[in-house]
């Protein structure tokens, strides 16, 4: 018994001893952590202190080293680093980089070289410390010196920029930025070390693009370079919602120039008209823009889906259907096989865009096929194919068939809901409604073949489905009538029994009362 107690005590002492083994915070660092401001309040906030207490010994040693070498000498400087709340790997990168440590010290830096969490230029400023530490390069250990040169381990104030860095003239001709980024991004062996799936042909593509030609050949100061789209400090993976090249932000990034009339002044379309600046506004209101920006459908296209990114260029007349066909493969293929293809080429019309528009594509409607005021066909046909009455008859046929099937679907769907509420089995009706809905969708797509025979073949199952639904709805209604009749018969029978019971009761009670009289 005594031995058990003794061993328990030893264990408890050992545990207590191991807890006491955590090294004490070095004197200088401890002084910064407990420093107070003029008002007598601690400079380091409780949140920052909690974060510090959770750091491992290695990070604490790096922080201590920074204070011992007097790179961090002020409590507010230490506070700004702790306030980042970085995970250990990133904090390790930061604390081993004297560039960052020095450029976050408000005592040493001028406002234009000081990185902080609230830079004077706002949160989008290149001096935003949060952006710097969130940068995809920073996370992989590529910090300031990777681009700006110098020795991050040195505590001397020297800058020895890499030779590609053009010094003071770097803003005049920004083409050097391309080759500067390409030092790494065009090196497959190097990129493979970090992200094997990342392409390395961005520079080659950019050179061939109008943007590239404008920057490299015309040396136009308005032309974009890598940083124009990807940002300076704070480049994030495109999947990150904060990235400037995230699908939901691409239209803003492109719009920074293309929606700015001042920047676009002087640029012209092939027909000589000025390059419009309303594309972003049109895109936002379009069916694609609403799908991406309002519904968050990442499958919906944005600027680079049609124009490309590093090789961004206008979509050529002949390639419009290819571009749209990436998603709308069925309609594009039907159009390619139609008689309209040739006619559109002869008139140099931009295929899909001729009817649907480009940046401001709106939801299609069946009346586009009609001969009414919302018709798409009438205007061109009146001018170019008025001798062919068959075309307008076909369009009317398409319109009439789709409208009829659509009305059938709406009518029978409402009937199915009513029958379901009455407790009838509507599963077979729903199956056929699904078939009808599919047919309507296919029929709408088959309009692009502009062939009555082909259209009728597709629409025919819809007619059959509508007939089947009509029969099923009638059967369900008959069944409901049978239920009502069955109920009426049951009520009648129960009523009859009730009357019999009542009469029997009266007779028995009368009989029981008679002897009492």
């Amino acid at each position: 018994m005594k031995r058990t107690l003794a061993s328990t005590l030893i264990c408890l002492l050992a545990v207590a001893g191991s807890a006491a083994e955590k090294p004490a915070v070095p004197e200088k660092l401890a002084a910064l952590l407990t420093a107070t401001n003029d008002a007598g309040k601690p400079v380091i906030t409780p949140e920052q202190r909690t974060y510090f207490d959770g750091l491992n010994d290695h990070i604490t040693a790096l922080l201590s080293n920074a204070t011992e070498t007097e790179i961090i000498t002020r409590p507010d400087h230490l506070g700004s680093i702790l306030a980042l709340g970085l995970r250990p790997q990133k904090m390790e990168v930061l604390l081993q980089d004297n560039c960052v440590l020095c450029h976050t010290d408000p005592e040493v830096q001028k406002p234009e070289t000081l990185f902080s969490l609230a830079p004077p230029g706002g949160s989008n400023s290149h001096l935003n410390l949060r952006h710097l530490v969130d940068d995809v390069h920073f996370a992989r250990g590529l910090s300031c010196s990777g681009c700006h040169g110098g020795d991050p381990a040195s505590d001397k104030l020297e800058h020895s920029h890499v030779k590609e860095w053009p010094g003071t003239a770097r803003d005049k001709d920004r083409a050097w930025i391309l080759s500067f980024c390409a030092r790494c991004h065009s090196d497959p062996a190097l990129m493979n070390r970090f992200n094997p799936t990342l392409p390395t042909d961005q520079l080659a593509k950019f050179r061939e693009s109008p943007h590239g030609k404008l920057l490299i050949e015309a040396k136009d100061s308005r032309a974009p370079d890598c940083l124009s789209c990807h940002g300076v400090h704070g480049m994030r993976n495109a999947k990150n919602p904060l990235s400037t090249v995230n699908p939901k932000r691409v239209h803003e990034t492109c719009g920074a120039c293309h929606a700015n009339p001042a920047k676009m002044a002087g640029f012209k379309l092939p027909d000589g008209s000025p390059l419009p600046t309303n594309q972003v506004a049109q895109y936002r209101a379009s069916v694609h823009g609403r799908a991406l920006l309002e519904r968050g459908d990442l499958g919906a296209p944005t600027c680079n889906s049609c124009h490309g990114n590093h090789a961004a260029m206008p979509v050529g007349l002949s390639s419009v259907s290819q571009s749209c066909g990436l998603c709308h493969a069925g309609a594009a293929s039907l159009f390619d096989g139609s008689k309209h293809k040739k006619a559109f080429e002869e008139h140099k019309w931009a295929q899909c865009a001729k009817c649907h528009g480009n940046h401001g594509i709106l939801k299609t409607h069946d009346a586009m096929l009609s001969s009414g005021p919302r018709s798409l066909c009438v205007e061109c046909h009146a001018q170019y194919a008025k001798e062919n009455p068959e075309c307008s008859a076909s369009a009317e046929h398409f319109y009439a068939t789709i409208t009829r099937l659509d009305q059938d679907w709406n009518r029978y769907n409402a009937s199915a809901e009513q029958l379901a509420a009455k407790g009838l089995d509507v599963d077979p009706i729903h199956d056929q409604l699904g078939e009808l809905a599919d047919t309507i969708k296919q029929a709408r797509a088959h309009v692009h073949a502009f062939s009555r025979n082909s259209f009728d073949q597709v629409a025919d199952p819809g007619n059959k489905a509508a007939d089947t639904i009509s029969t099923l709805v009638s059967e369900a209604r008959s069944e409901y009538r049978v239920r009502q009749m069955g109920l009426a018969a049951s009520i009648g029978l129960i009523g009859l029994v009730m009357i019999t019971v009542y009469l029997k009761l009266r007779r028995l009670e009368r009989q029981a009362d008679e002897p009492n009289r």
Partner: protein, 464 residues
């Protein structure tokens, strides 16, 4: 004697020689149901509850012929039953309607027993057995709700069983036992199935037998104050045939409702459309509510803050509910006046107060008068106000009818319930603060009345 009468007499003789049935027949022949100044209708509610239970048994057995418990079969078998099996839809619809009507009938039976003081000695155990049957009926409702394994049932059961966690000390263990694991899974389904079709019916049938035995041995309670049993109504044939007429009427109503409203009246907590199959990986949809008879407790839980008196809010709520239900269970022993065969208006008023308390909470759970969005502070205020006006209206009718037609002068509990509703709904006090004020005033008023009554009895000229 004709041939028919002769044969019946021979059969009776044959049975009597073996089972001595003559005393039983004589007992039934002379059995009477007491008549009094109150309506006889209250005597039939036990019978209608039994009728709905019998319908439950018959339709339940028919449903059981097709229902297959299991994660992959429960929903599918119910769907098959209601869409493909002849009259399957009718069986399910009748089963669901009858379940709800059984609870309505049972609640009415319980409150009528309470108001007529039929629980008074020597019928205390009849009250207790009925009380346990009421609890079992709610258990039937809760366990049966999960069996179709549809979305609504799954999430309502998840939320409902989660309440068990609030039981001090054994909460987590109880939850584990109830669910057959930490979550609602097929294990829960099997447990609820066993409860619904075996355990609860066995217990219920046993209790019905005990309850009926008590009623037969003691007879139905005569009206309060009737010292000598007057000439009552003959149980056979007068009462029994009237009972049969009422059962036939109930059957008629049941069939009409089942055919015209097969999925219920569409009121939240009273609808049973199969809908979509349960998917445990989907998040629970907002605004999920239990069946109507649990709505008051659901709303009461919402009125409690997350923490109160150093305990969790739901724990305090569970304690309050347990206390109220315990008081309800031991009313026969608390009501000393009724035990002396004297009117006990205080306990009648307690019953009316309970009705108003339950009404307000149920109306509030139905979001009567809600604005959009329903959970916004403005909407919650409007809901409280609208429900308060409805409850105050009902309370006013109850008070006027009792005052004018029944000459009641005891309104402390009714008044406290209405004050509670008014302070909360009209003056914006929190539900608990308003409740505490109303309960304190009611307690003070009751204490004053009890002391005054004792003083009167103790004084030389007082009533002894």
């Amino acid at each position: 004697m004709n041939d028919h009468g002769h044969e019946r007499s021979r059969l009776r003789g044959w049975l009597d020689s073996r089972y001595q049935i003559t005393p039983l027949i004589e007992f039934l022949r002379h059995k009477e149901v007491p008549k009094g100044p109150h309506s006889m209708v209250w005597y039939y509610l036990g019978g209608t509850t039994t009728f709905f239970f019998m319908v439950q048994v018959v339709t339940g057995v028919l449903l059981l012929m097709y229902y297959q418990p299991g994660e992959a079969t429960a929903y599918e078998s119910m769907r098959y039953l209601t869409t493909k099996v002849p009259f399957g839809w009718l069986m399910r619809s009748v089963h669901c309607w009858s379940a709800h009507l059984m609870i309505v009938s049972l609640v009415a039976h319980m409150f009528s027993t309470m108001m007529l003081k039929a629980y008074r000695p020597p019928r205390e155990l009849t009250w207790v057995s009925g009380y346990i049957m009421f609890a079992l009926t709610l258990g039937f409702g809760f366990s049966g709700y999960l069996l179709p394994w549809n979305k609504l049932a799954y999430f309502a059961t998840s939320v409902g069983t989660d309440l068990v966690k609030s039981v001090p000390l054994a909460g987590d263990w109880l939850l584990h036992v109830l669910r057959g694991g930490p979550d609602v899974t097929a294990n829960t389904l099997f447990r609820f199935f066993a409860l619904h079709v075996v355990i609860l019916p066995l217990l219920f049938v046993g209790l019905i037998a005990i309850h009926l035995l008590f009623v037969q041995r003691q007879g139905m309670a005569p009206p309060l104050g009737q010292k000598v049993a007057g000439r009552g109504m003959k149980f056979f044939p007068s009462f029994a045939l009237r009972d049969l007429l009422l059962w036939l009427l109930c059957l008629m109503i049941l069939l009409v409702l089942s055919v015209f409203l097969p999925y219920g009246p569409g009121i939240p907590g009273m609808e049973w459309e199969l809908g979509e199959k349960a998917d445990p990986f989907e998040p629970a949809f907002p605004g999920i509510k239990p069946e109507w008879y649990f709505l008051w407790e659901y709303q009461l839980l919402k009125e409690f803050p997350p923490h109160l008196f150093g305990l969790e809010g739901p724990q305090v709520c569970l304690f309050v509910v347990t206390l109220l239900l315990a008081v309800w269970a031991i009313i026969p022993w608390l009501d000393r006046q009724a035990a002396r065969n004297e009117p006990s208006p205080g306990f009648s008023d307690f019953g009316w107060g309970a009705i108003l308390f339950l009404t307000f909470l149920t109306l509030k759970a139905w979001d009567i008068g809600a604005l959009q969005p329903v959970d916004s502070p403005a909407s919650l205020k409007v809901i409280s106000r609208t429900c308060a006006w409805w409850t105050l209206g009902l309370g006013a009718i109850i008070i006027i009818v009792r005052f004018l037609f029944y000459h009641d002068r005891w309104f402390i509990f009714t008044g406290a319930a209405l004050l509670h509703v008014a302070l909360h709904g009209l003056f914006g006090l929190s539900y608990l603060t308003a409740g505490a004020i109303a309960a304190s005033l009611a307690a003070a008023a009751v204490a004053r009345r009890v002391l005054a009554a004792r003083k009167t009895r103790a004084s030389p000229g007082g009533v002894g």
